[in-house]
């Protein structure tokens, strides 16, 4: 994709987020740097609890009680979101930035019709009248391919299937033509066939509307056909960042390698033993010294346990970066 020349739409610098745990405050996200260019699709990949959601929520001032941003900047179209007042931030949310959340069941208010929920961004960002908003909502419903269109607007969420709910959620995210759509594991709760529908829908919408997308997932297979670039998170830090083709062709961080290796595949040779990563990620606040992945790493060297590697470009590429002392010296074949 040719998004190189454009100025970044969103630029996150040195973001750090802290949560309160039983053992006191703990940084769950730290030294986070990434950017999204206009129209670009970024995949954010990592295991559960590595801080994917909290990063996005943190930027938008949507953190749950007990969590707070402690450092960094997040510049959206020239404005630092972290410095905005609540009122200004509200303008951004749902206006410039649309959201799609993971669980389409719990993310809808069960006692309001989906129409009432769908028109809200229009009411509060576009100052539309209710009637106009309702009309536009009908269009949105058709846009995301809901059979029946505006007729379903007066349904309650429970009357829709999971897939349809997720479509409505996407419609809601797109209501005000945002320049950025943040999708937090939008298909994890869905069936494969429905997941495929949603993937196709988003691809299609992106082609038509041209917005940038941040797609959070733990499934490396899922985003491969969808995004332009991928960042891999481990324990709250970026461990690898690359263009999508590059990453799958030449995964460099042992963690990425492990992730890819542990994916069972539908095609190709079978009957092999899966290359799993032993152990579990550290809990927040119990980050080991040195590289956080070192305890699980099969390629670790002495240095890994004492010194934390920084994200650095790999030899031969400026756009492929990894945070590893041994990265670049291993290849996919070696890992598999």
């Amino acid at each position: 994709m040719s998004s190189m020349a454009k100025a970044p739409l969103l630029e996150v610098k040195d973001l750090a987020i802290e949560v309160s745990t039983r053992r006191g405050p703990a940084k769950v996200v730290e030294h986070l740097n990434f950017m999204v260019k206009p129209g670009e699709a970024l995949g954010v990949v990592g295991e559960s609890g590595c801080g994917k959601s909290i990063t996005m929520l943190g930027m938008m001032g949507l953190l749950p009680p007990g969590a707070r941003v402690v450092d960094g900047t997040a510049t959206l179209e020239g404005r630092d979101l972290l410095k905005l007042s609540n009122r200004e931030l509200r303008k951004v949310r749902g206006g410039q930035v649309g959201f799609v959340f993971q669980d389409p069941m719990t993310s809808f208010n069960p006692v309001m019709t989906i129409g009432d929920q769908l028109i809200e961004p229009l009411l509060y960002h576009r100052a539309m009248s209710k009637a106009d908003a309702w009309k536009r909502a009908g269009e949105l419903m058709r846009l995301v391919g809901i059979p029946g269109g505006e007729k379903r607007l007066s349904d309650y969420p429970h009357q829709l299937s999971g897939g349809m709910r997720q479509r409505v959620m996407i419609a809601m995210g797109l209501a005000c033509d945002p320049s950025l759509l943040i999708a937090d594991e939008p298909t994890t709760a869905l069936d494969v066939t429905i997941q495929a529908q949603i993937l196709d829908l988003v691809k299609d919408l992106r082609a038509r509307l041209g917005m940038a997308v941040v797609w959070i997932t733990h499934d490396l297979a899922l985003v491969s056909g969808l995004v332009d670039r991928i960042i891999v998170l481990y324990a709250g830090r970026i461990v690898e960042e690359a263009d999508v083709d590059d990453l799958y062709k030449r995964p460099s961080h042992p963690y990425t390698i492990g992730l890819l290796g542990s994916l069972p595949r539908l095609h190709g040779p079978e009957g092999r033993r899966l290359a799993s990563i032993g152990g579990t990620p550290p809990e927040p606040g119990r980050r080991p010294k040195g590289c956080a992945f070192a305890p699980r790493c099969s390629m670790k060297i002495a240095r890994c346990e004492t010194e934390e590697p920084q994200l650095a470009p790999l030899p031969g590429s400026t756009r492929h970066r990894a945070a590893c002392w041994v990265a670049g010296t291993v290849s996919v074949e070696a890992a598999a």
Partner: protein, 331 residues
């Protein structure tokens, strides 16, 4: 993985199994509804194999597992095991069989009693089925923990102190404690992270080898299924669409639903994914409360015919160990 013999021995024979749930509907819960969760399914499970059951959410996979284990009383049908029809046994009589037929549940978070330590959880079946002398129980627990790759000190922990993968290991250890012959894995890995998923898959495979277990592996992730199973059964809305040896089903699916499922699975291959032509199914799975007439799949089927609307396709053996239920499949 075991390559089964020419005339494999059936460990379990399921005949015409049916399970309906009767539910209350209406704003005041004053209307009755029937969920056709399992609609006359028949199949065999062979000793030592891994049979996978795939299908979309709500199609009755779990119900099948539960009903076979008599955790739900079947509405109709037989579950023959070791010469006995489990469906006719009382809860007391079943207890002896329960030990031999075990299950690992989908959600490792909720299948462990939050108020019992891991050690207690695992010791419980050992104690009640008298599988070890009282004084040997702690040693047995340690051994089981070791079997699933957990250090012995975990015995004193409570479930909430474990990660998801560790919990799933405990659940497996608990099932193993019964020294079962047959293990139903109801989406045993779906809730886990990829890296942990691979650990558990490997573990299950190792254990099968070590103890000669037979698996009914319930999953919705076809890639995992391909990796682990000997045979695959595909379910749609309470009925079997097709069943057959894994390679046959994956390489030459017969039922249009199986084809659609396979085509929907994403691959970690950006180039292939970008260019791949998918056969995306339209619409959603109909409600089992009010299933379509004839072939349940006809509402979404790309090759549906007139007959599909009215007639339930027969469950036919098409040779090569494969059975299918589709009007469009010749033979």
């Amino acid at each position: 993985m075991t390559i089964h013999q020419q005339t494999p021995e059936a460990l379990l024979k399921i005949e015409n199994l049916r399970k309906y749930f009767y539910v209350k509907l209406g704003a005041f819960g004053d209307k009755a509804g029937v969920v056709h969760a399992l609609d006359r399914i028949s199949f065999d499970i062979f000793k030592g194999e891994t049979l996978s059951l795939v299908g979309e959410s709500g199609c009755g996979k779990s119900t099948a597992g539960f009903t076979i284990l008599q955790l739900h009383k079947p509405t109709e049908g037989k579950v023959l095991y070791d010469g006995a029809d489990l469906a006719t046994l009382s809860e007391k009589e079943l207890r002896a069989y329960r030990r031999r037929l075990q299950i690992v549940f989908q959600d490792p978070y909720s299948t462990l009693n939050p108020r019992m330590t891991v050690g207690d959880c695992i010791a419980e079946p050992v104690r009640f089925h008298k599988l070890a002398a009282k004084k040997d129980i702690p040693a047995r627990v340690d051994q089981l923990l070791a079997d699933v790759g957990l250090p012995a000190r975990f015995a004193n922990r409570y479930p909430h102190e474990l990660s998801g993968g560790q919990r799933q290991r405990v659940v497996i250890a608990r099932a193993l404690a019964c020294e079962p012959e047959f293990l139903v894995c109801d989406e045993a890995i779906s809730a886990l992270d990829v890296s942990i998923q691979a650990q558990i898959i490997n573990l299950l495979q190792d254990l099968q080898e070590k103890y000669g277990l037979t698996y009914l592996f319930i999953a919705h992730d076809l890639a995992v299924v391909r990796h682990i199973s000997d045979r695959v059964a595909v379910m749609y809305l309470g009925r079997f669409a097709e069943i057959g040896p894994k390679d046959a089903v994956f390489n030459a699916p017969l039922h249009p639903y199986t084809k659609a499922l396979l085509s929907a699975v994403p691959e970690p291959d950006p180039v292939g994914e970008r260019t791949r032509q998918r056969q995306v199914l339209q619409g959603d799975v109909p409600s089992p409360l009010n299933p379509p007439s004839g072939c349940h799949f006809h509402t979404r089927c790309p090759v549906a015919m007139e007959i599909c609307r009215s007639q339930v396709p027969a469950w036919r053996d098409v040779g090569g160990g494969r059975s299918v239920s589709c009007h469009a499949v010749p033979g």
